[in-house]
């Protein structure tokens, strides 16, 4: 499924975390070793210049994917490949984190924070050139050049996230991995940051891997969206298709439960259930205990990702055309 112009291809990648009890407890209390499959056989590829988003609830593995791609975690299986970078050098990847309060060093001035990757990677020859570059970057993200002498605490939350973006851009990356970049921000400031990210994408030809739990933000940013549930991608589709015609029952549940200020669905039926513990995922399709369309096959056999039109869906019901089954509320 690798597109020819893919900047990043993730191929059957898995990540297991060892969450076993300490050695002595295992020996004395005979506790077994325990592994969490945080990411399970995930494959996707991102075309150059597009925005690929991963959505899902907490614990679904979306942030783990971001950390695998940036190399902060090593994979337990599968392969992550980058396409050829521009000017013959490898693709440069940078990451923007959720909380600018904790991802910026409080003892460093903004200018030094942004200059660090430039100095470290020796991207500019002299200190003067570095300073010019830092001032350019500050202007690009909508701050003033003399802000470089300030400390992070002197900025508001939105301005701090702008500094994070400037630092990420300092090493001239082609792929930006954004892990919930606006979740810690207020709505009016969130709009500023999202607009900035869209503008930068256009001007600098960036590719985004965008991780978020906020579907309206994802809809605004993405070309393609992957929905993750318990470590697996359950549906992957162009943004338009996913929002107008979600196919997987979990995508439908997610889209049905998000509050929509323009069309509030206030007296809805309760969508029962919660995501099960990833320590002990249900057999077969991991979504079957909550799924209104589940049958015996779903509880035995894990579905594979298959193409349905422009979307890729992993669901037995969609495959068999059981989508017209009675809704949960009438069952």
């Amino acid at each position: 499924m690798t597109a020819p112009d893919a900047i990043l291809s993730v191929d059957h990648v898995s990540k297991e975390f060892d969450v076993s009890a300490p050695w002595l407890n295992r020996v004395i209390e005979r506790k077994p070793r325990l592994f969490v499959k945080a990411v399970n056989d995930v494959s996707f590829s991102i075309p150059r210049g597009s925005c690929f988003s991963i959505v899902g609830e907490s614990g679904c593995g979306k942030s783990t994917v971001a950390r695998l791609v940036t190399g902060l975690y090593s994979t337990s299986g599968g392969e992550i490949r980058f396409g050829p970078g521009t000017a013959g050098r490898p693709v440069r990847v940078q990451m923007i984190f959720q909380d600018p309060q904790s991802s910026l060093n409080p003892r460093w001035r903004a200018g030094d924070i942004i200059a660090e990757p430039i100095r470290e990677m020796k991207l500019r020859k002299t200190e003067d050139e570095t300073r010019d570059r830092v001032e350019d970057l500050l202007r690009i993200v909508g701050l003033a050049a003399d802000d470089s002498a300030k400390f992070p605490h002197e900025f508001s939350g939105g301005q701090r996230q702008r500094i994070s973006i400037a630092r990420a851009l300092a090493s001239e990356p082609e792929l930006l991995v954004c892990d919930e970049p606006t979740s810690a921000l207020d709505v009016s400031v969130q709009a500023q940051i999202l607009n900035l990210m869209r503008r930068l994408q256009k001007e600098l030809g960036l590719t985004y891997l965008f991780i978020s739990h906020d579907l309206s933000v994802v809809r605004h940013m993405s070309d393609t969206i992957a929905v993750m549930y318990l470590g697996r991608i359950v549906e992957m589709a162009p943004a338009e298709d996913l929002f107008t015609a979600p196919q997987h029952p979990y995508s439908q549940l997610l889209l049905g439960t998000i509050p929509d200020i323009h069309a509030p669905n206030r007296d809805r039926d309760l969508q029962a259930g919660e995501p099960p513990s990833p320590l002990n995922p249900p057999p077969g399709c991991t979504f079957h205990p909550r799924c209104p369309l589940a049958d015996t096959r779903c509880s035995r056999e894990a579905p594979a990702l298959r193409e349905h039109g422009r979307a890729t869906v992993s669901c037995h019901a969609v495959e068999e055309g059981r989508t017209a089954a009675p809704e949960r509320s009438h069952a």
């Binding site: 207020d186 009016s188 709009a191 309206s216 509050p259 200020i261 323009h262 206030r266 007296d267 309760l270």
Partner: protein
């Protein structure tokens, strides 16, 4: 199953019922070394029985402080510097700590953002429920236990008999928040202050909790003050909404009206800044700048530096809430012009 349409709150003219909460001209101050900071500046609001008032605003707008002031939980050096708070017709801001302890829990309940810190990790959920029930009612141990079971069932916790013996860490986030709601309901208070009750939860769980709050509110005629930054939650849950900005209520009205016909420039900007689920725009409408800090609040209308239509009067005088279309807004556009 379709539920009944939303019961509209009685208008004050036809219903003599005492509001469960009436806040008038509340001012909260924090004296600091660098002068006195006014966190809440002359705020008034009322909640009728069976009504959910959404209090929405960005961080630092003073929405949580309003909730804490009503509960009498302001942390020193914060203090109520003016105004009155009446809960079910009784003035509570002048009560002593001892009297306040009796009112809290029995007449007003609280639900906070993080259910894990709101529960004691060392006691079983049952013990905490029974303790709260016995503190506020005359029930004996057996009856209190039966009531605890009933409450857990009411908030939708499966297998309540077994759950009573379990500890908070054995509950998932959504279930824990249900336990906190059960605790808040223990003495059937007329007013519940819910401060960001769904913020720590995932969307599918969030929908379960807001639906539960709505059901309880309508069944028990409890008034709920729902404090949140999430306009989506307000749209789905509240009957009326008060939009706060920099310590003041800038707009208030029925939830549909505030969302579809916002009158204050801040509310308008806020609504347009939320990405839509239906159509995709190239650039979102953004409000430049950010909310002023308490010590740098501008004179006149606190929103004037960010306001696209501000005039000289906005920098000079402070607007009060006046009728504006279907809502009430604190903006000179609706009160004689900005010149």
């Amino acid at each position: 199953m379709m539920l009944q349409p939303v019961i509209a709150p009685e208008s004050p003219g036809t219903a003599p019922a005492t509001p469960v909460l009436e806040v008038s001209n509340l001012t909260v101050e924090f004296p600091t070394r660098h002068g006195t900071l006014t966190a809440i500046d002359d705020v008034s609001m009322r909640i009728e029985p069976g009504e959910i008032l959404g209090v929405v605003g960005e961080s630092g707008a003073g929405k949580s402080i309003t909730g804490l002031a009503v509960l009498g939980l302001l942390e020193a050096p914060g203090r109520i510097a003016g105004g009155e708070i009446h809960v079910a017709g009784r003035r509570v801001d002048t009560l002593s700590e001892e009297e306040l302890t009796k009112v809290r829990g029995s007449e007003m309940g609280a639900i906070f953002q993080d259910p894990l810190t709101a529960l004691n990790p060392l006691f079983s959920v049952g013990a905490q429920l029974v303790e709260t029930i016995r503190l506020h009612t005359e029930l004996n141990k057996e009856e209190a236990r039966a009531r605890a079971l009933h409450l857990l069932r009411e908030v939708g916790i499966p297998a309540p008999e077994e759950r009573l013996k379990q500890f908070p860490h054995q509950f998932s986030g959504g279930m824990r928040q249900r336990v906190v709601i059960a605790l808040a309901l223990a003495a059937e208070p007329g007013l519940i202050i819910a401060d960001e009750p769904t913020t720590a939860l995932d969307v599918s769980i969030q929908a379960q909790i807001t639906t539960l709050l709505r059901r309880l509110c309508k069944e028990h005629r409890t008034g709920i003050m729902l404090v949140t930054h999430d306009m989506g939650v307000i749209a789905e849950t509240a009957d009326r909404v008060a939009v706060m900005y920099s310590g003041r209520v800038v707009e208030t009205g029925r939830v549909e009206d505030v969302i579809h016909a916002p009158q204050h420039p801040y509310t308008k900007g806020l609504m347009a800044a939320i990405p839509s689920l239906h159509d995709r725009v190239e650039t979102l409408t953004q409000i430049d700048g950010s909310m002023p800090r308490l010590n740098t609040r501008p004179s006149g209308c606190a929103f004037n530096p960010r306001c696209p239509v501000a005039g000289p009067r906005c920098r000079r005088d402070r607007p009060e809430l006046v009728a504006a279309g279907p809502n009430r807004a604190a903006c000179f556009l609706h009160d004689g012009g900005t010149q």
